[in-house]
Symmetry: D2
Subunit: 288 residues, 4 copies
Amino acid sequence: MSTGNAKVAGIASKPRKPEVGGILPGLLEWLSRNGYSVVVDPETAPYAPGCEVLSRDQMGQRDLRFVIVLGGDGTLLSAGRAVAKAGIPLLGINLGSLGFLTEVILEDLYPALDAMERNGCEVHMRSMLECEVMRQGETVFRHDALNDIVLGKGTIARLNHCDVYIDQVFVSSYQADSLIVSTPTGSTAYSLAAGGPILMPEVEAFVITPVSAHSLTHRPLVVQDTSEIEIVAKTDDEAYLSIDGQIGIPALDGDIIRCRKSKDTVRLLHFKGSFFDVLRTKLKWGQR
Amino acid sequence: MSTGNAKVAGIASKPRKPEVGGILPGLLEWLSRNGYSVVVDPETAPYAPGCEVLSRDQMGQRDLRFVIVLGGDGTLLSAGRAVAKAGIPLLGINLGSLGFLTEVILEDLYPALDAMERNGCEVHMRSMLECEVMRQGETVFRHDALNDIVLGKGTIARLNHCDVYIDQVFVSSYQADSLIVSTPTGSTAYSLAAGGPILMPEVEAFVITPVSAHSLTHRPLVVQDTSEIEIVAKTDDEAYLSIDGQIGIPALDGDIIRCRKSKDTVRLLHFKGSFFDVLRTKLKWGQR
Amino acid sequence: MSTGNAKVAGIASKPRKPEVGGILPGLLEWLSRNGYSVVVDPETAPYAPGCEVLSRDQMGQRDLRFVIVLGGDGTLLSAGRAVAKAGIPLLGINLGSLGFLTEVILEDLYPALDAMERNGCEVHMRSMLECEVMRQGETVFRHDALNDIVLGKGTIARLNHCDVYIDQVFVSSYQADSLIVSTPTGSTAYSLAAGGPILMPEVEAFVITPVSAHSLTHRPLVVQDTSEIEIVAKTDDEAYLSIDGQIGIPALDGDIIRCRKSKDTVRLLHFKGSFFDVLRTKLKWGQR
Amino acid sequence: MSTGNAKVAGIASKPRKPEVGGILPGLLEWLSRNGYSVVVDPETAPYAPGCEVLSRDQMGQRDLRFVIVLGGDGTLLSAGRAVAKAGIPLLGINLGSLGFLTEVILEDLYPALDAMERNGCEVHMRSMLECEVMRQGETVFRHDALNDIVLGKGTIARLNHCDVYIDQVFVSSYQADSLIVSTPTGSTAYSLAAGGPILMPEVEAFVITPVSAHSLTHRPLVVQDTSEIEIVAKTDDEAYLSIDGQIGIPALDGDIIRCRKSKDTVRLLHFKGSFFDVLRTKLKWGQR
């Protein structure tokens, strides 16, 4: 974590969650008592009068000790991408059901904070994918993804065509609703719903998962994360590229979507339990 | 088939298929020699000078002995829906690779026609789904589907929510990219790519197949075809309803998509081989 | 149900379930109060001193008004096959978690019995498969299955080869761990675990589901239940045929396993809730 | 490869393959011309009179420059395990259809040998799994697997129970027909048929794939290859452990099957084409 003298903490919240209002007074009190000044994102601001308000991206340019995320996995994806470059760790507090990323439940908020303050939290490193879109020789889009990069079909057309290359070697043409390139973190999200495997977070690989591939033998493909994956869009009309299901741009015929391991890493503060505890709870393993 | 005196045949072709130009002279000659007058759709018209031109829907209002479809399964889906009400049988000639519906290959065109003329072709009946969209108590859309009815997500939103009822009984809420309601005919098309089973054409059932369902235990559900399936769209912004992947309308929050067996049936003239011959060839069963 | 004068009820229980001992006194009291004499199977006998003891097969030869099954789906499968020929309905009481077949939970035992006595229970008909094994022209085995007929590999050999025919028409050769032929009832059991679809109980069809098919395009196949399915075993050494996972015989090379709809039907007394209530509860639909 | 002076080559063949007889004269001639003396396995011996005969394991104790495998993937699995410890590379020549491991087709035999002799073949490293079975505190079995380690059910029992731990952390209990632990190499074999992903050979991971898991949410799990995977067998009667589908022992209740990366590596001589060329050809990607 940071070595600066001033202890500053960030708070990022899920929009339209009145529960945040109930949590903030106690949380601000804990932070103050432990010597932190606090910056908050615009979603948190209404519940934190007097705190400096920063966008999540601006938080990533400040020397924060950590960012507390109040919400669900979606909020953490957004905040995580924003502060990864600065190496700021995140503590994800789930306001609803358990999340894969926001794995601290509300009743463990203060035990987790206390543990963190005693350096009692492990920091789990989560790799990201960097996505760069080349159009007619120029980079027209570049973004990091913590979960996945998805090239999807537009509304009407059924099939999205694309060619995939790994380290310049042709893999296959795909006809599918979508093609997902997922990190290990994203392997429990959209890729899983589309039939992909679960990758333990430490696995140094990505997984390419087609959704409803026309060719029934097109199965998820696990690729080492030192590889560069290139997807060439072949589309008559509309296709769409999205990052973590949150950010997106239309993709055009001939666009090259280049995916490689990001040089930045998301740091998650881990309080207790194992990755498998979350899987067993979320997926109800062994309960049928 | 028709009992009228005048023997009239229809021809419907896939657009932008120059091969049609090579086939038409011989085909028109065969039809003339066998006493047929000919009507053609606009796609065929450039290759059939002098023939009466009708839309496919107009063909469905004429007393045709049969319609010859030159193209692929997409062309047959469109022509099949158009002439089903009139009970006109179709002979599907595949211009490319073998199709599930256009199962006569080009070199069998005249043997198939000769067999048909001798009443040597079986007529295979294919059930259709009728789709009716209710919006605020009014029917705003109604169409038959030979393959499938698909409620899909829009471009950006990842998840399509809907509730499904069968014969007024609540089945489940679904979060998925799409929800497919497929006929047996459609079970080898999009539903198969999405993980659905293959239904033999004679099975009196439909199959509801979710695409990338968020809940991993949402599996394809086979429902007797006397049932009424209702899908209630729950969407913040855009959803899309499509018929056979060819016709579609935007779906709004609260729309009720009512699916039941159509009273009309598509009649396919069958020349030779079995349903399983097509499956084995198309899916390359047993070749790995 | 029976039209005889004497009201006789049967009770069949899951082995080694001490809970049965706690249920029997009250149950026998209810039956006596409502004018029933009682026969019990050997598993129930220790808890029902003085009652006539019959095997489940013998129950099927008596004029019983109904059989109460105390246990899980396995117990009901066995009792169901035994009394189907006689048309005796069964009331399945689940001693553990909810079952697909034993859908009455223990606390609903007396409400269900009261409803039944007032003719307030629907009777749900469940089709069965008849399995006949032909070896060198002779029938060497014949049995009904309520869930499924499975041709499986032996212990060592990885792949089970077989050829499948439907109504004498060749479908495909299969290389797989097992081949399952399932009723709609069995579609929520082993076939589901192997990737098969869920068939609503009323669907007049069976499903052929391969387990770990070598050919990735071999998908579950839904077949109308008027068809005869023949499986020809092709095995160098050991294969194994099992009925509902409960009864089995070794299968030899060249054996023809003939599957068709049984002329008998299992009658399940249904108390409350829908098939989908059970699915949603058992499969935890919509809970992720 | 070896630095010894004497150039010795090995030949291992698939049993009962008369084609081997047609290949050997030319192959022995080529080897002699290039200065190799030759040792052969017992399956090759009938076609190589005068050559020293060694078991495959004995080949692994000699200073061979390489082993030529004539057969299919099964033969290469066996020979590969035998000579891995000695670091001897293998050249796999497929006598039938293309294999994932025996990727040189017969007509490329001499071009491949010529390339190898000019050091023109890449050597592809394939990781193996070491499997150790602990029973009541003692190691009762230990073997390397190039494809997979499978804990399977016996003949009659439907469900195999086991508990899985990764690096001492509990993952889940499984009820399934089998549990597969596969290398990247094995990911295109049994694991693929059971629904597992394809791992590129370079991925430093293993995949745990259940076959027909009772819990529908038990999906393939990709684990970094520095982890130790432990499977605890829980079985009333019979279970079976197999290595590459070729070697096996019965497993007893309480047996701990410990899987970790083997310190040995199989070296495959690669002639031409890419891993994806093989996938596209074998799986017929893009051909539907």
